[in-house]
Amino acid sequence: MAAPESGDGNNGAARMVTLISSDNTRFEVEAAAASLSQTLQLTILDGGGGGGDGIPLPNVDSATLSKVLEYCIKHAPAAANGGAPNATAVDRAELERFDNEFVNIDQSVLYSLIMAAHNLEIEGLQSLVAKKVADMIKGKSPMEIRRTLGFPDPTPEEQAEMNAHMLEYGWAYE
C-alpha cells in the first residue's frame, strides 16, 4: 500500500500534511506523525496542511525540522496506540535504542532541537532532549555547565559571581 503523493485528507488511512520550514523547505508527512505536535494538532484536525497549502513553521529551520520529523515518524505508531500498552518488549527496546541514538548529537543541534520541541509542543521529544541536557550538566560546576553547553563567554560580573560561588562552595564538587 503506497502512501499518496499529496494527501488531501480524504483518500485513505494515511492522510498527509505539508510542513514548511523557516527556509521554505517543504516536508510531507503523515498527519498522525505531525499530530504529535500539540501546536500542529488543532490545525491538522481543522483540515489544515493538506493539498498545496502547507503549514508554515517560521521558527524551525529545515535541518531541525527534518530531525524532529524523524522522531515523530518513529514514535507515531506507539502514540496512536495510546502509549502502546500492548507493545511488545522488542518494540519498546527498539524505541529506546532509537531515542538513545537520536540524542547522540552536537550541542548546537541540541539547542535547536529543544527550541523546536518547545515551540511545537512535542511532549516526548521535550522530555527526551531535556534528559540529554540534564545528563550533560549534572555534577558540574556553573563554569563547566557553560562550557559543556556552549554558552558565550561570561560577562565580568557573571565571572566574578561564579568565582565567589566556587570559593564558598567549591568543596561541594569534591
Binding site: 523547505t25 517543504r26 529545515s62 520529523l69 521535550q126 522530555s127 540534564a134 555547565i145 554558552f151 562552595y169
Partner: protein, 296 residues
C-alpha cells in the same frame, strides 16, 4: 496495524525543490543557540530531571536568567535530598546556615520532604518559617510515619513533639526516634516514652540510645497494643531482668534488646557516653537569630 506501520515508514520527509530558500527570519544570536535565553518552560523540564544538589550548586549559578528560574519555581524545591552531602563537616555549618535560608525562601512552603544527615536542628525551624517542630506536627494529621532521628533536641522539647504527634496524628504507625548515643550518667528519663505510650496505633518503634527506663517501656507496651516491632538497642537504662519485663515483651514479634548487635542499623551512632556535659554539636554553632529573621 501492520500495513499502517509499514506505510509510515515509507513516508519519510521529502525535500521539495520548489521555491528558492529565503534567508531565515531569525537573528544570528538565535542561530548559535543562546542557552541563557532558553524559554522558562523548556528549562524547567531540564531542571526537573536534575537532583536538588545540582540545582543548588550548579544550574542555579550559570547565568542570571537560569538563576531566576530556579529561584522562582517552588515546585523544584519539594523534595530536598541533601544525603549526598553526608560528609558535611561542622566547620561548614555556618556556610550552610545561609544556604538553608535561601533554600527555605525558594521552597516557599512547598517543601514536602527533606533528607539530610549531620545538619543542625535549626534547619527545620528555618524551613518551617519559624514554626517549631511541636507547632508544625499538628498540621500533618494524616501522618503515618515519622522519623526524628539524630535530633540534638536543641529546645529540649522532644517529649512535647511526641505529645503533639500522639494527640494530632491518630494514624501514626511508625516512629523512629534514634539518638546519636546513650548517655550513661543521665538519669532515667521517661518523658518521651510516656508520650509515645499515647500513640495507640503504633506498629513499629525504634528508640536507639534513649534513656527510658522500665516505667517508660511499660507505658509503651500498655499504650500501644498493636506494636509488632520494637527496637530499644543501646537503651541501657532498661533492666530486662526486672518487673517481669521479659514476659511482658514476649508478644512483640521483633524485639531488639539493648545489647543486641547493630548490624542492620542504617544510621550513624556512637558508643555510650559517660559524661555528657561537654561536646554537644549545638555548642559549635553560632546561630544568629538576627540573620535568620532578616532572611525570612
Amino acid at each position: 496495524m501492520e500495513p499502517e506501520s509499514s506505510s509510515l515508514r515509507q513516508c519519510r520527509p521529502r525535500l521539495h525543490d520548489g521555491k528558492p530558500p529565503s534567508p531565515p527570519p531569525t537573528t544570528e544570536g538565535e542561530e548559535t543557540g543562546d542557552w541563557a535565553e532558553l524559554p522558562r518552560d523548556a528549562l524547567l523540564i531540564v531542571l526537573h530531571k536534575l537532583e536538588i544538589l545540582d540545582i543548588i550548586f550548579g544550574v542555579g549559578h550559570v547565568c542570571h536568567s537560569w538563576r531566576r528560574v530556579t529561584q522562582e519555581e517552588p515546585e523544584l524545591w519539594r523534595r530536598i535530598d541533601m544525603l549526598r552531602l553526608a560528609k558535611l563537616e561542622p566547620h561548614r555549618y555556618s556556610q550552610f546556615q545561609s544556604l538553608a535560608h535561601s533554600i527555605a525562601r525558594r521552597s516557599a512552603g512547598q517543601c514536602e520532604s527533606f533528607w539530610a544527615i549531620g545538619f543542625p536542628d535549626y534547619y527545620f525551624t528555618v524551613f518551617s518559617h519559624g514554626v517549631t517542630l511541636k507547632e508544625a506536627i499538628p498540621k500533618f494529621p494524616q501522618l503515618e510515619e515519622l522519623e526524628l532521628s539524630l535530633h540534638t533536641d536543641m529546645f529540649n522539647d522532644m517529649y512535647e513533639v511526641c505529645a503533639a504527634a500522639a494527640e494530632a496524628c491518630p494514624l501514626l504507625k511508625t516512629l523512629r526516634l534514634n539518638k546519636q548515643r546513650y548517655h550513661c550518667n543521665s538519669r532515667v528519663e521517661d518523658k518521651e516514652a510516656m508520650e509515645i505510650g499515647k500513640m495507640h496505633g503504633l506498629r513499629s518503634l525504634q528508640l536507639f540510645g534513649n534513656s527510658l527506663g522500665n516505667d517508660g517501656l511499660a507505658a509503651i507496651l500498655d499504650g500501644c497494643p498493636q506494636l509488632e516491632y520494637l527496637d530499644v538497642r543501646h537503651c541501657f537504662s532498661i533492666r530486662m531482668d526486672r518487673d517481669n519485663m521479659q514476659n511482658r515483651c514476649a508478644r512483640i514479634w521483633t524485639f531488639k534488646l539493648p545489647n543486641d548487635p547493630m548490624d542492620d542499623y542504617n544510621l550513624p551512632f556512637r558508643s555510650p557516653k559517660r559524661w555528657c556535659n561537654v561536646e554537644t554539636p549545638v555548642r559549635n554553632l553560632s546561630f544568629r537569630w538576627d540573620v535568620y529573621w532578616d532572611s525570612l
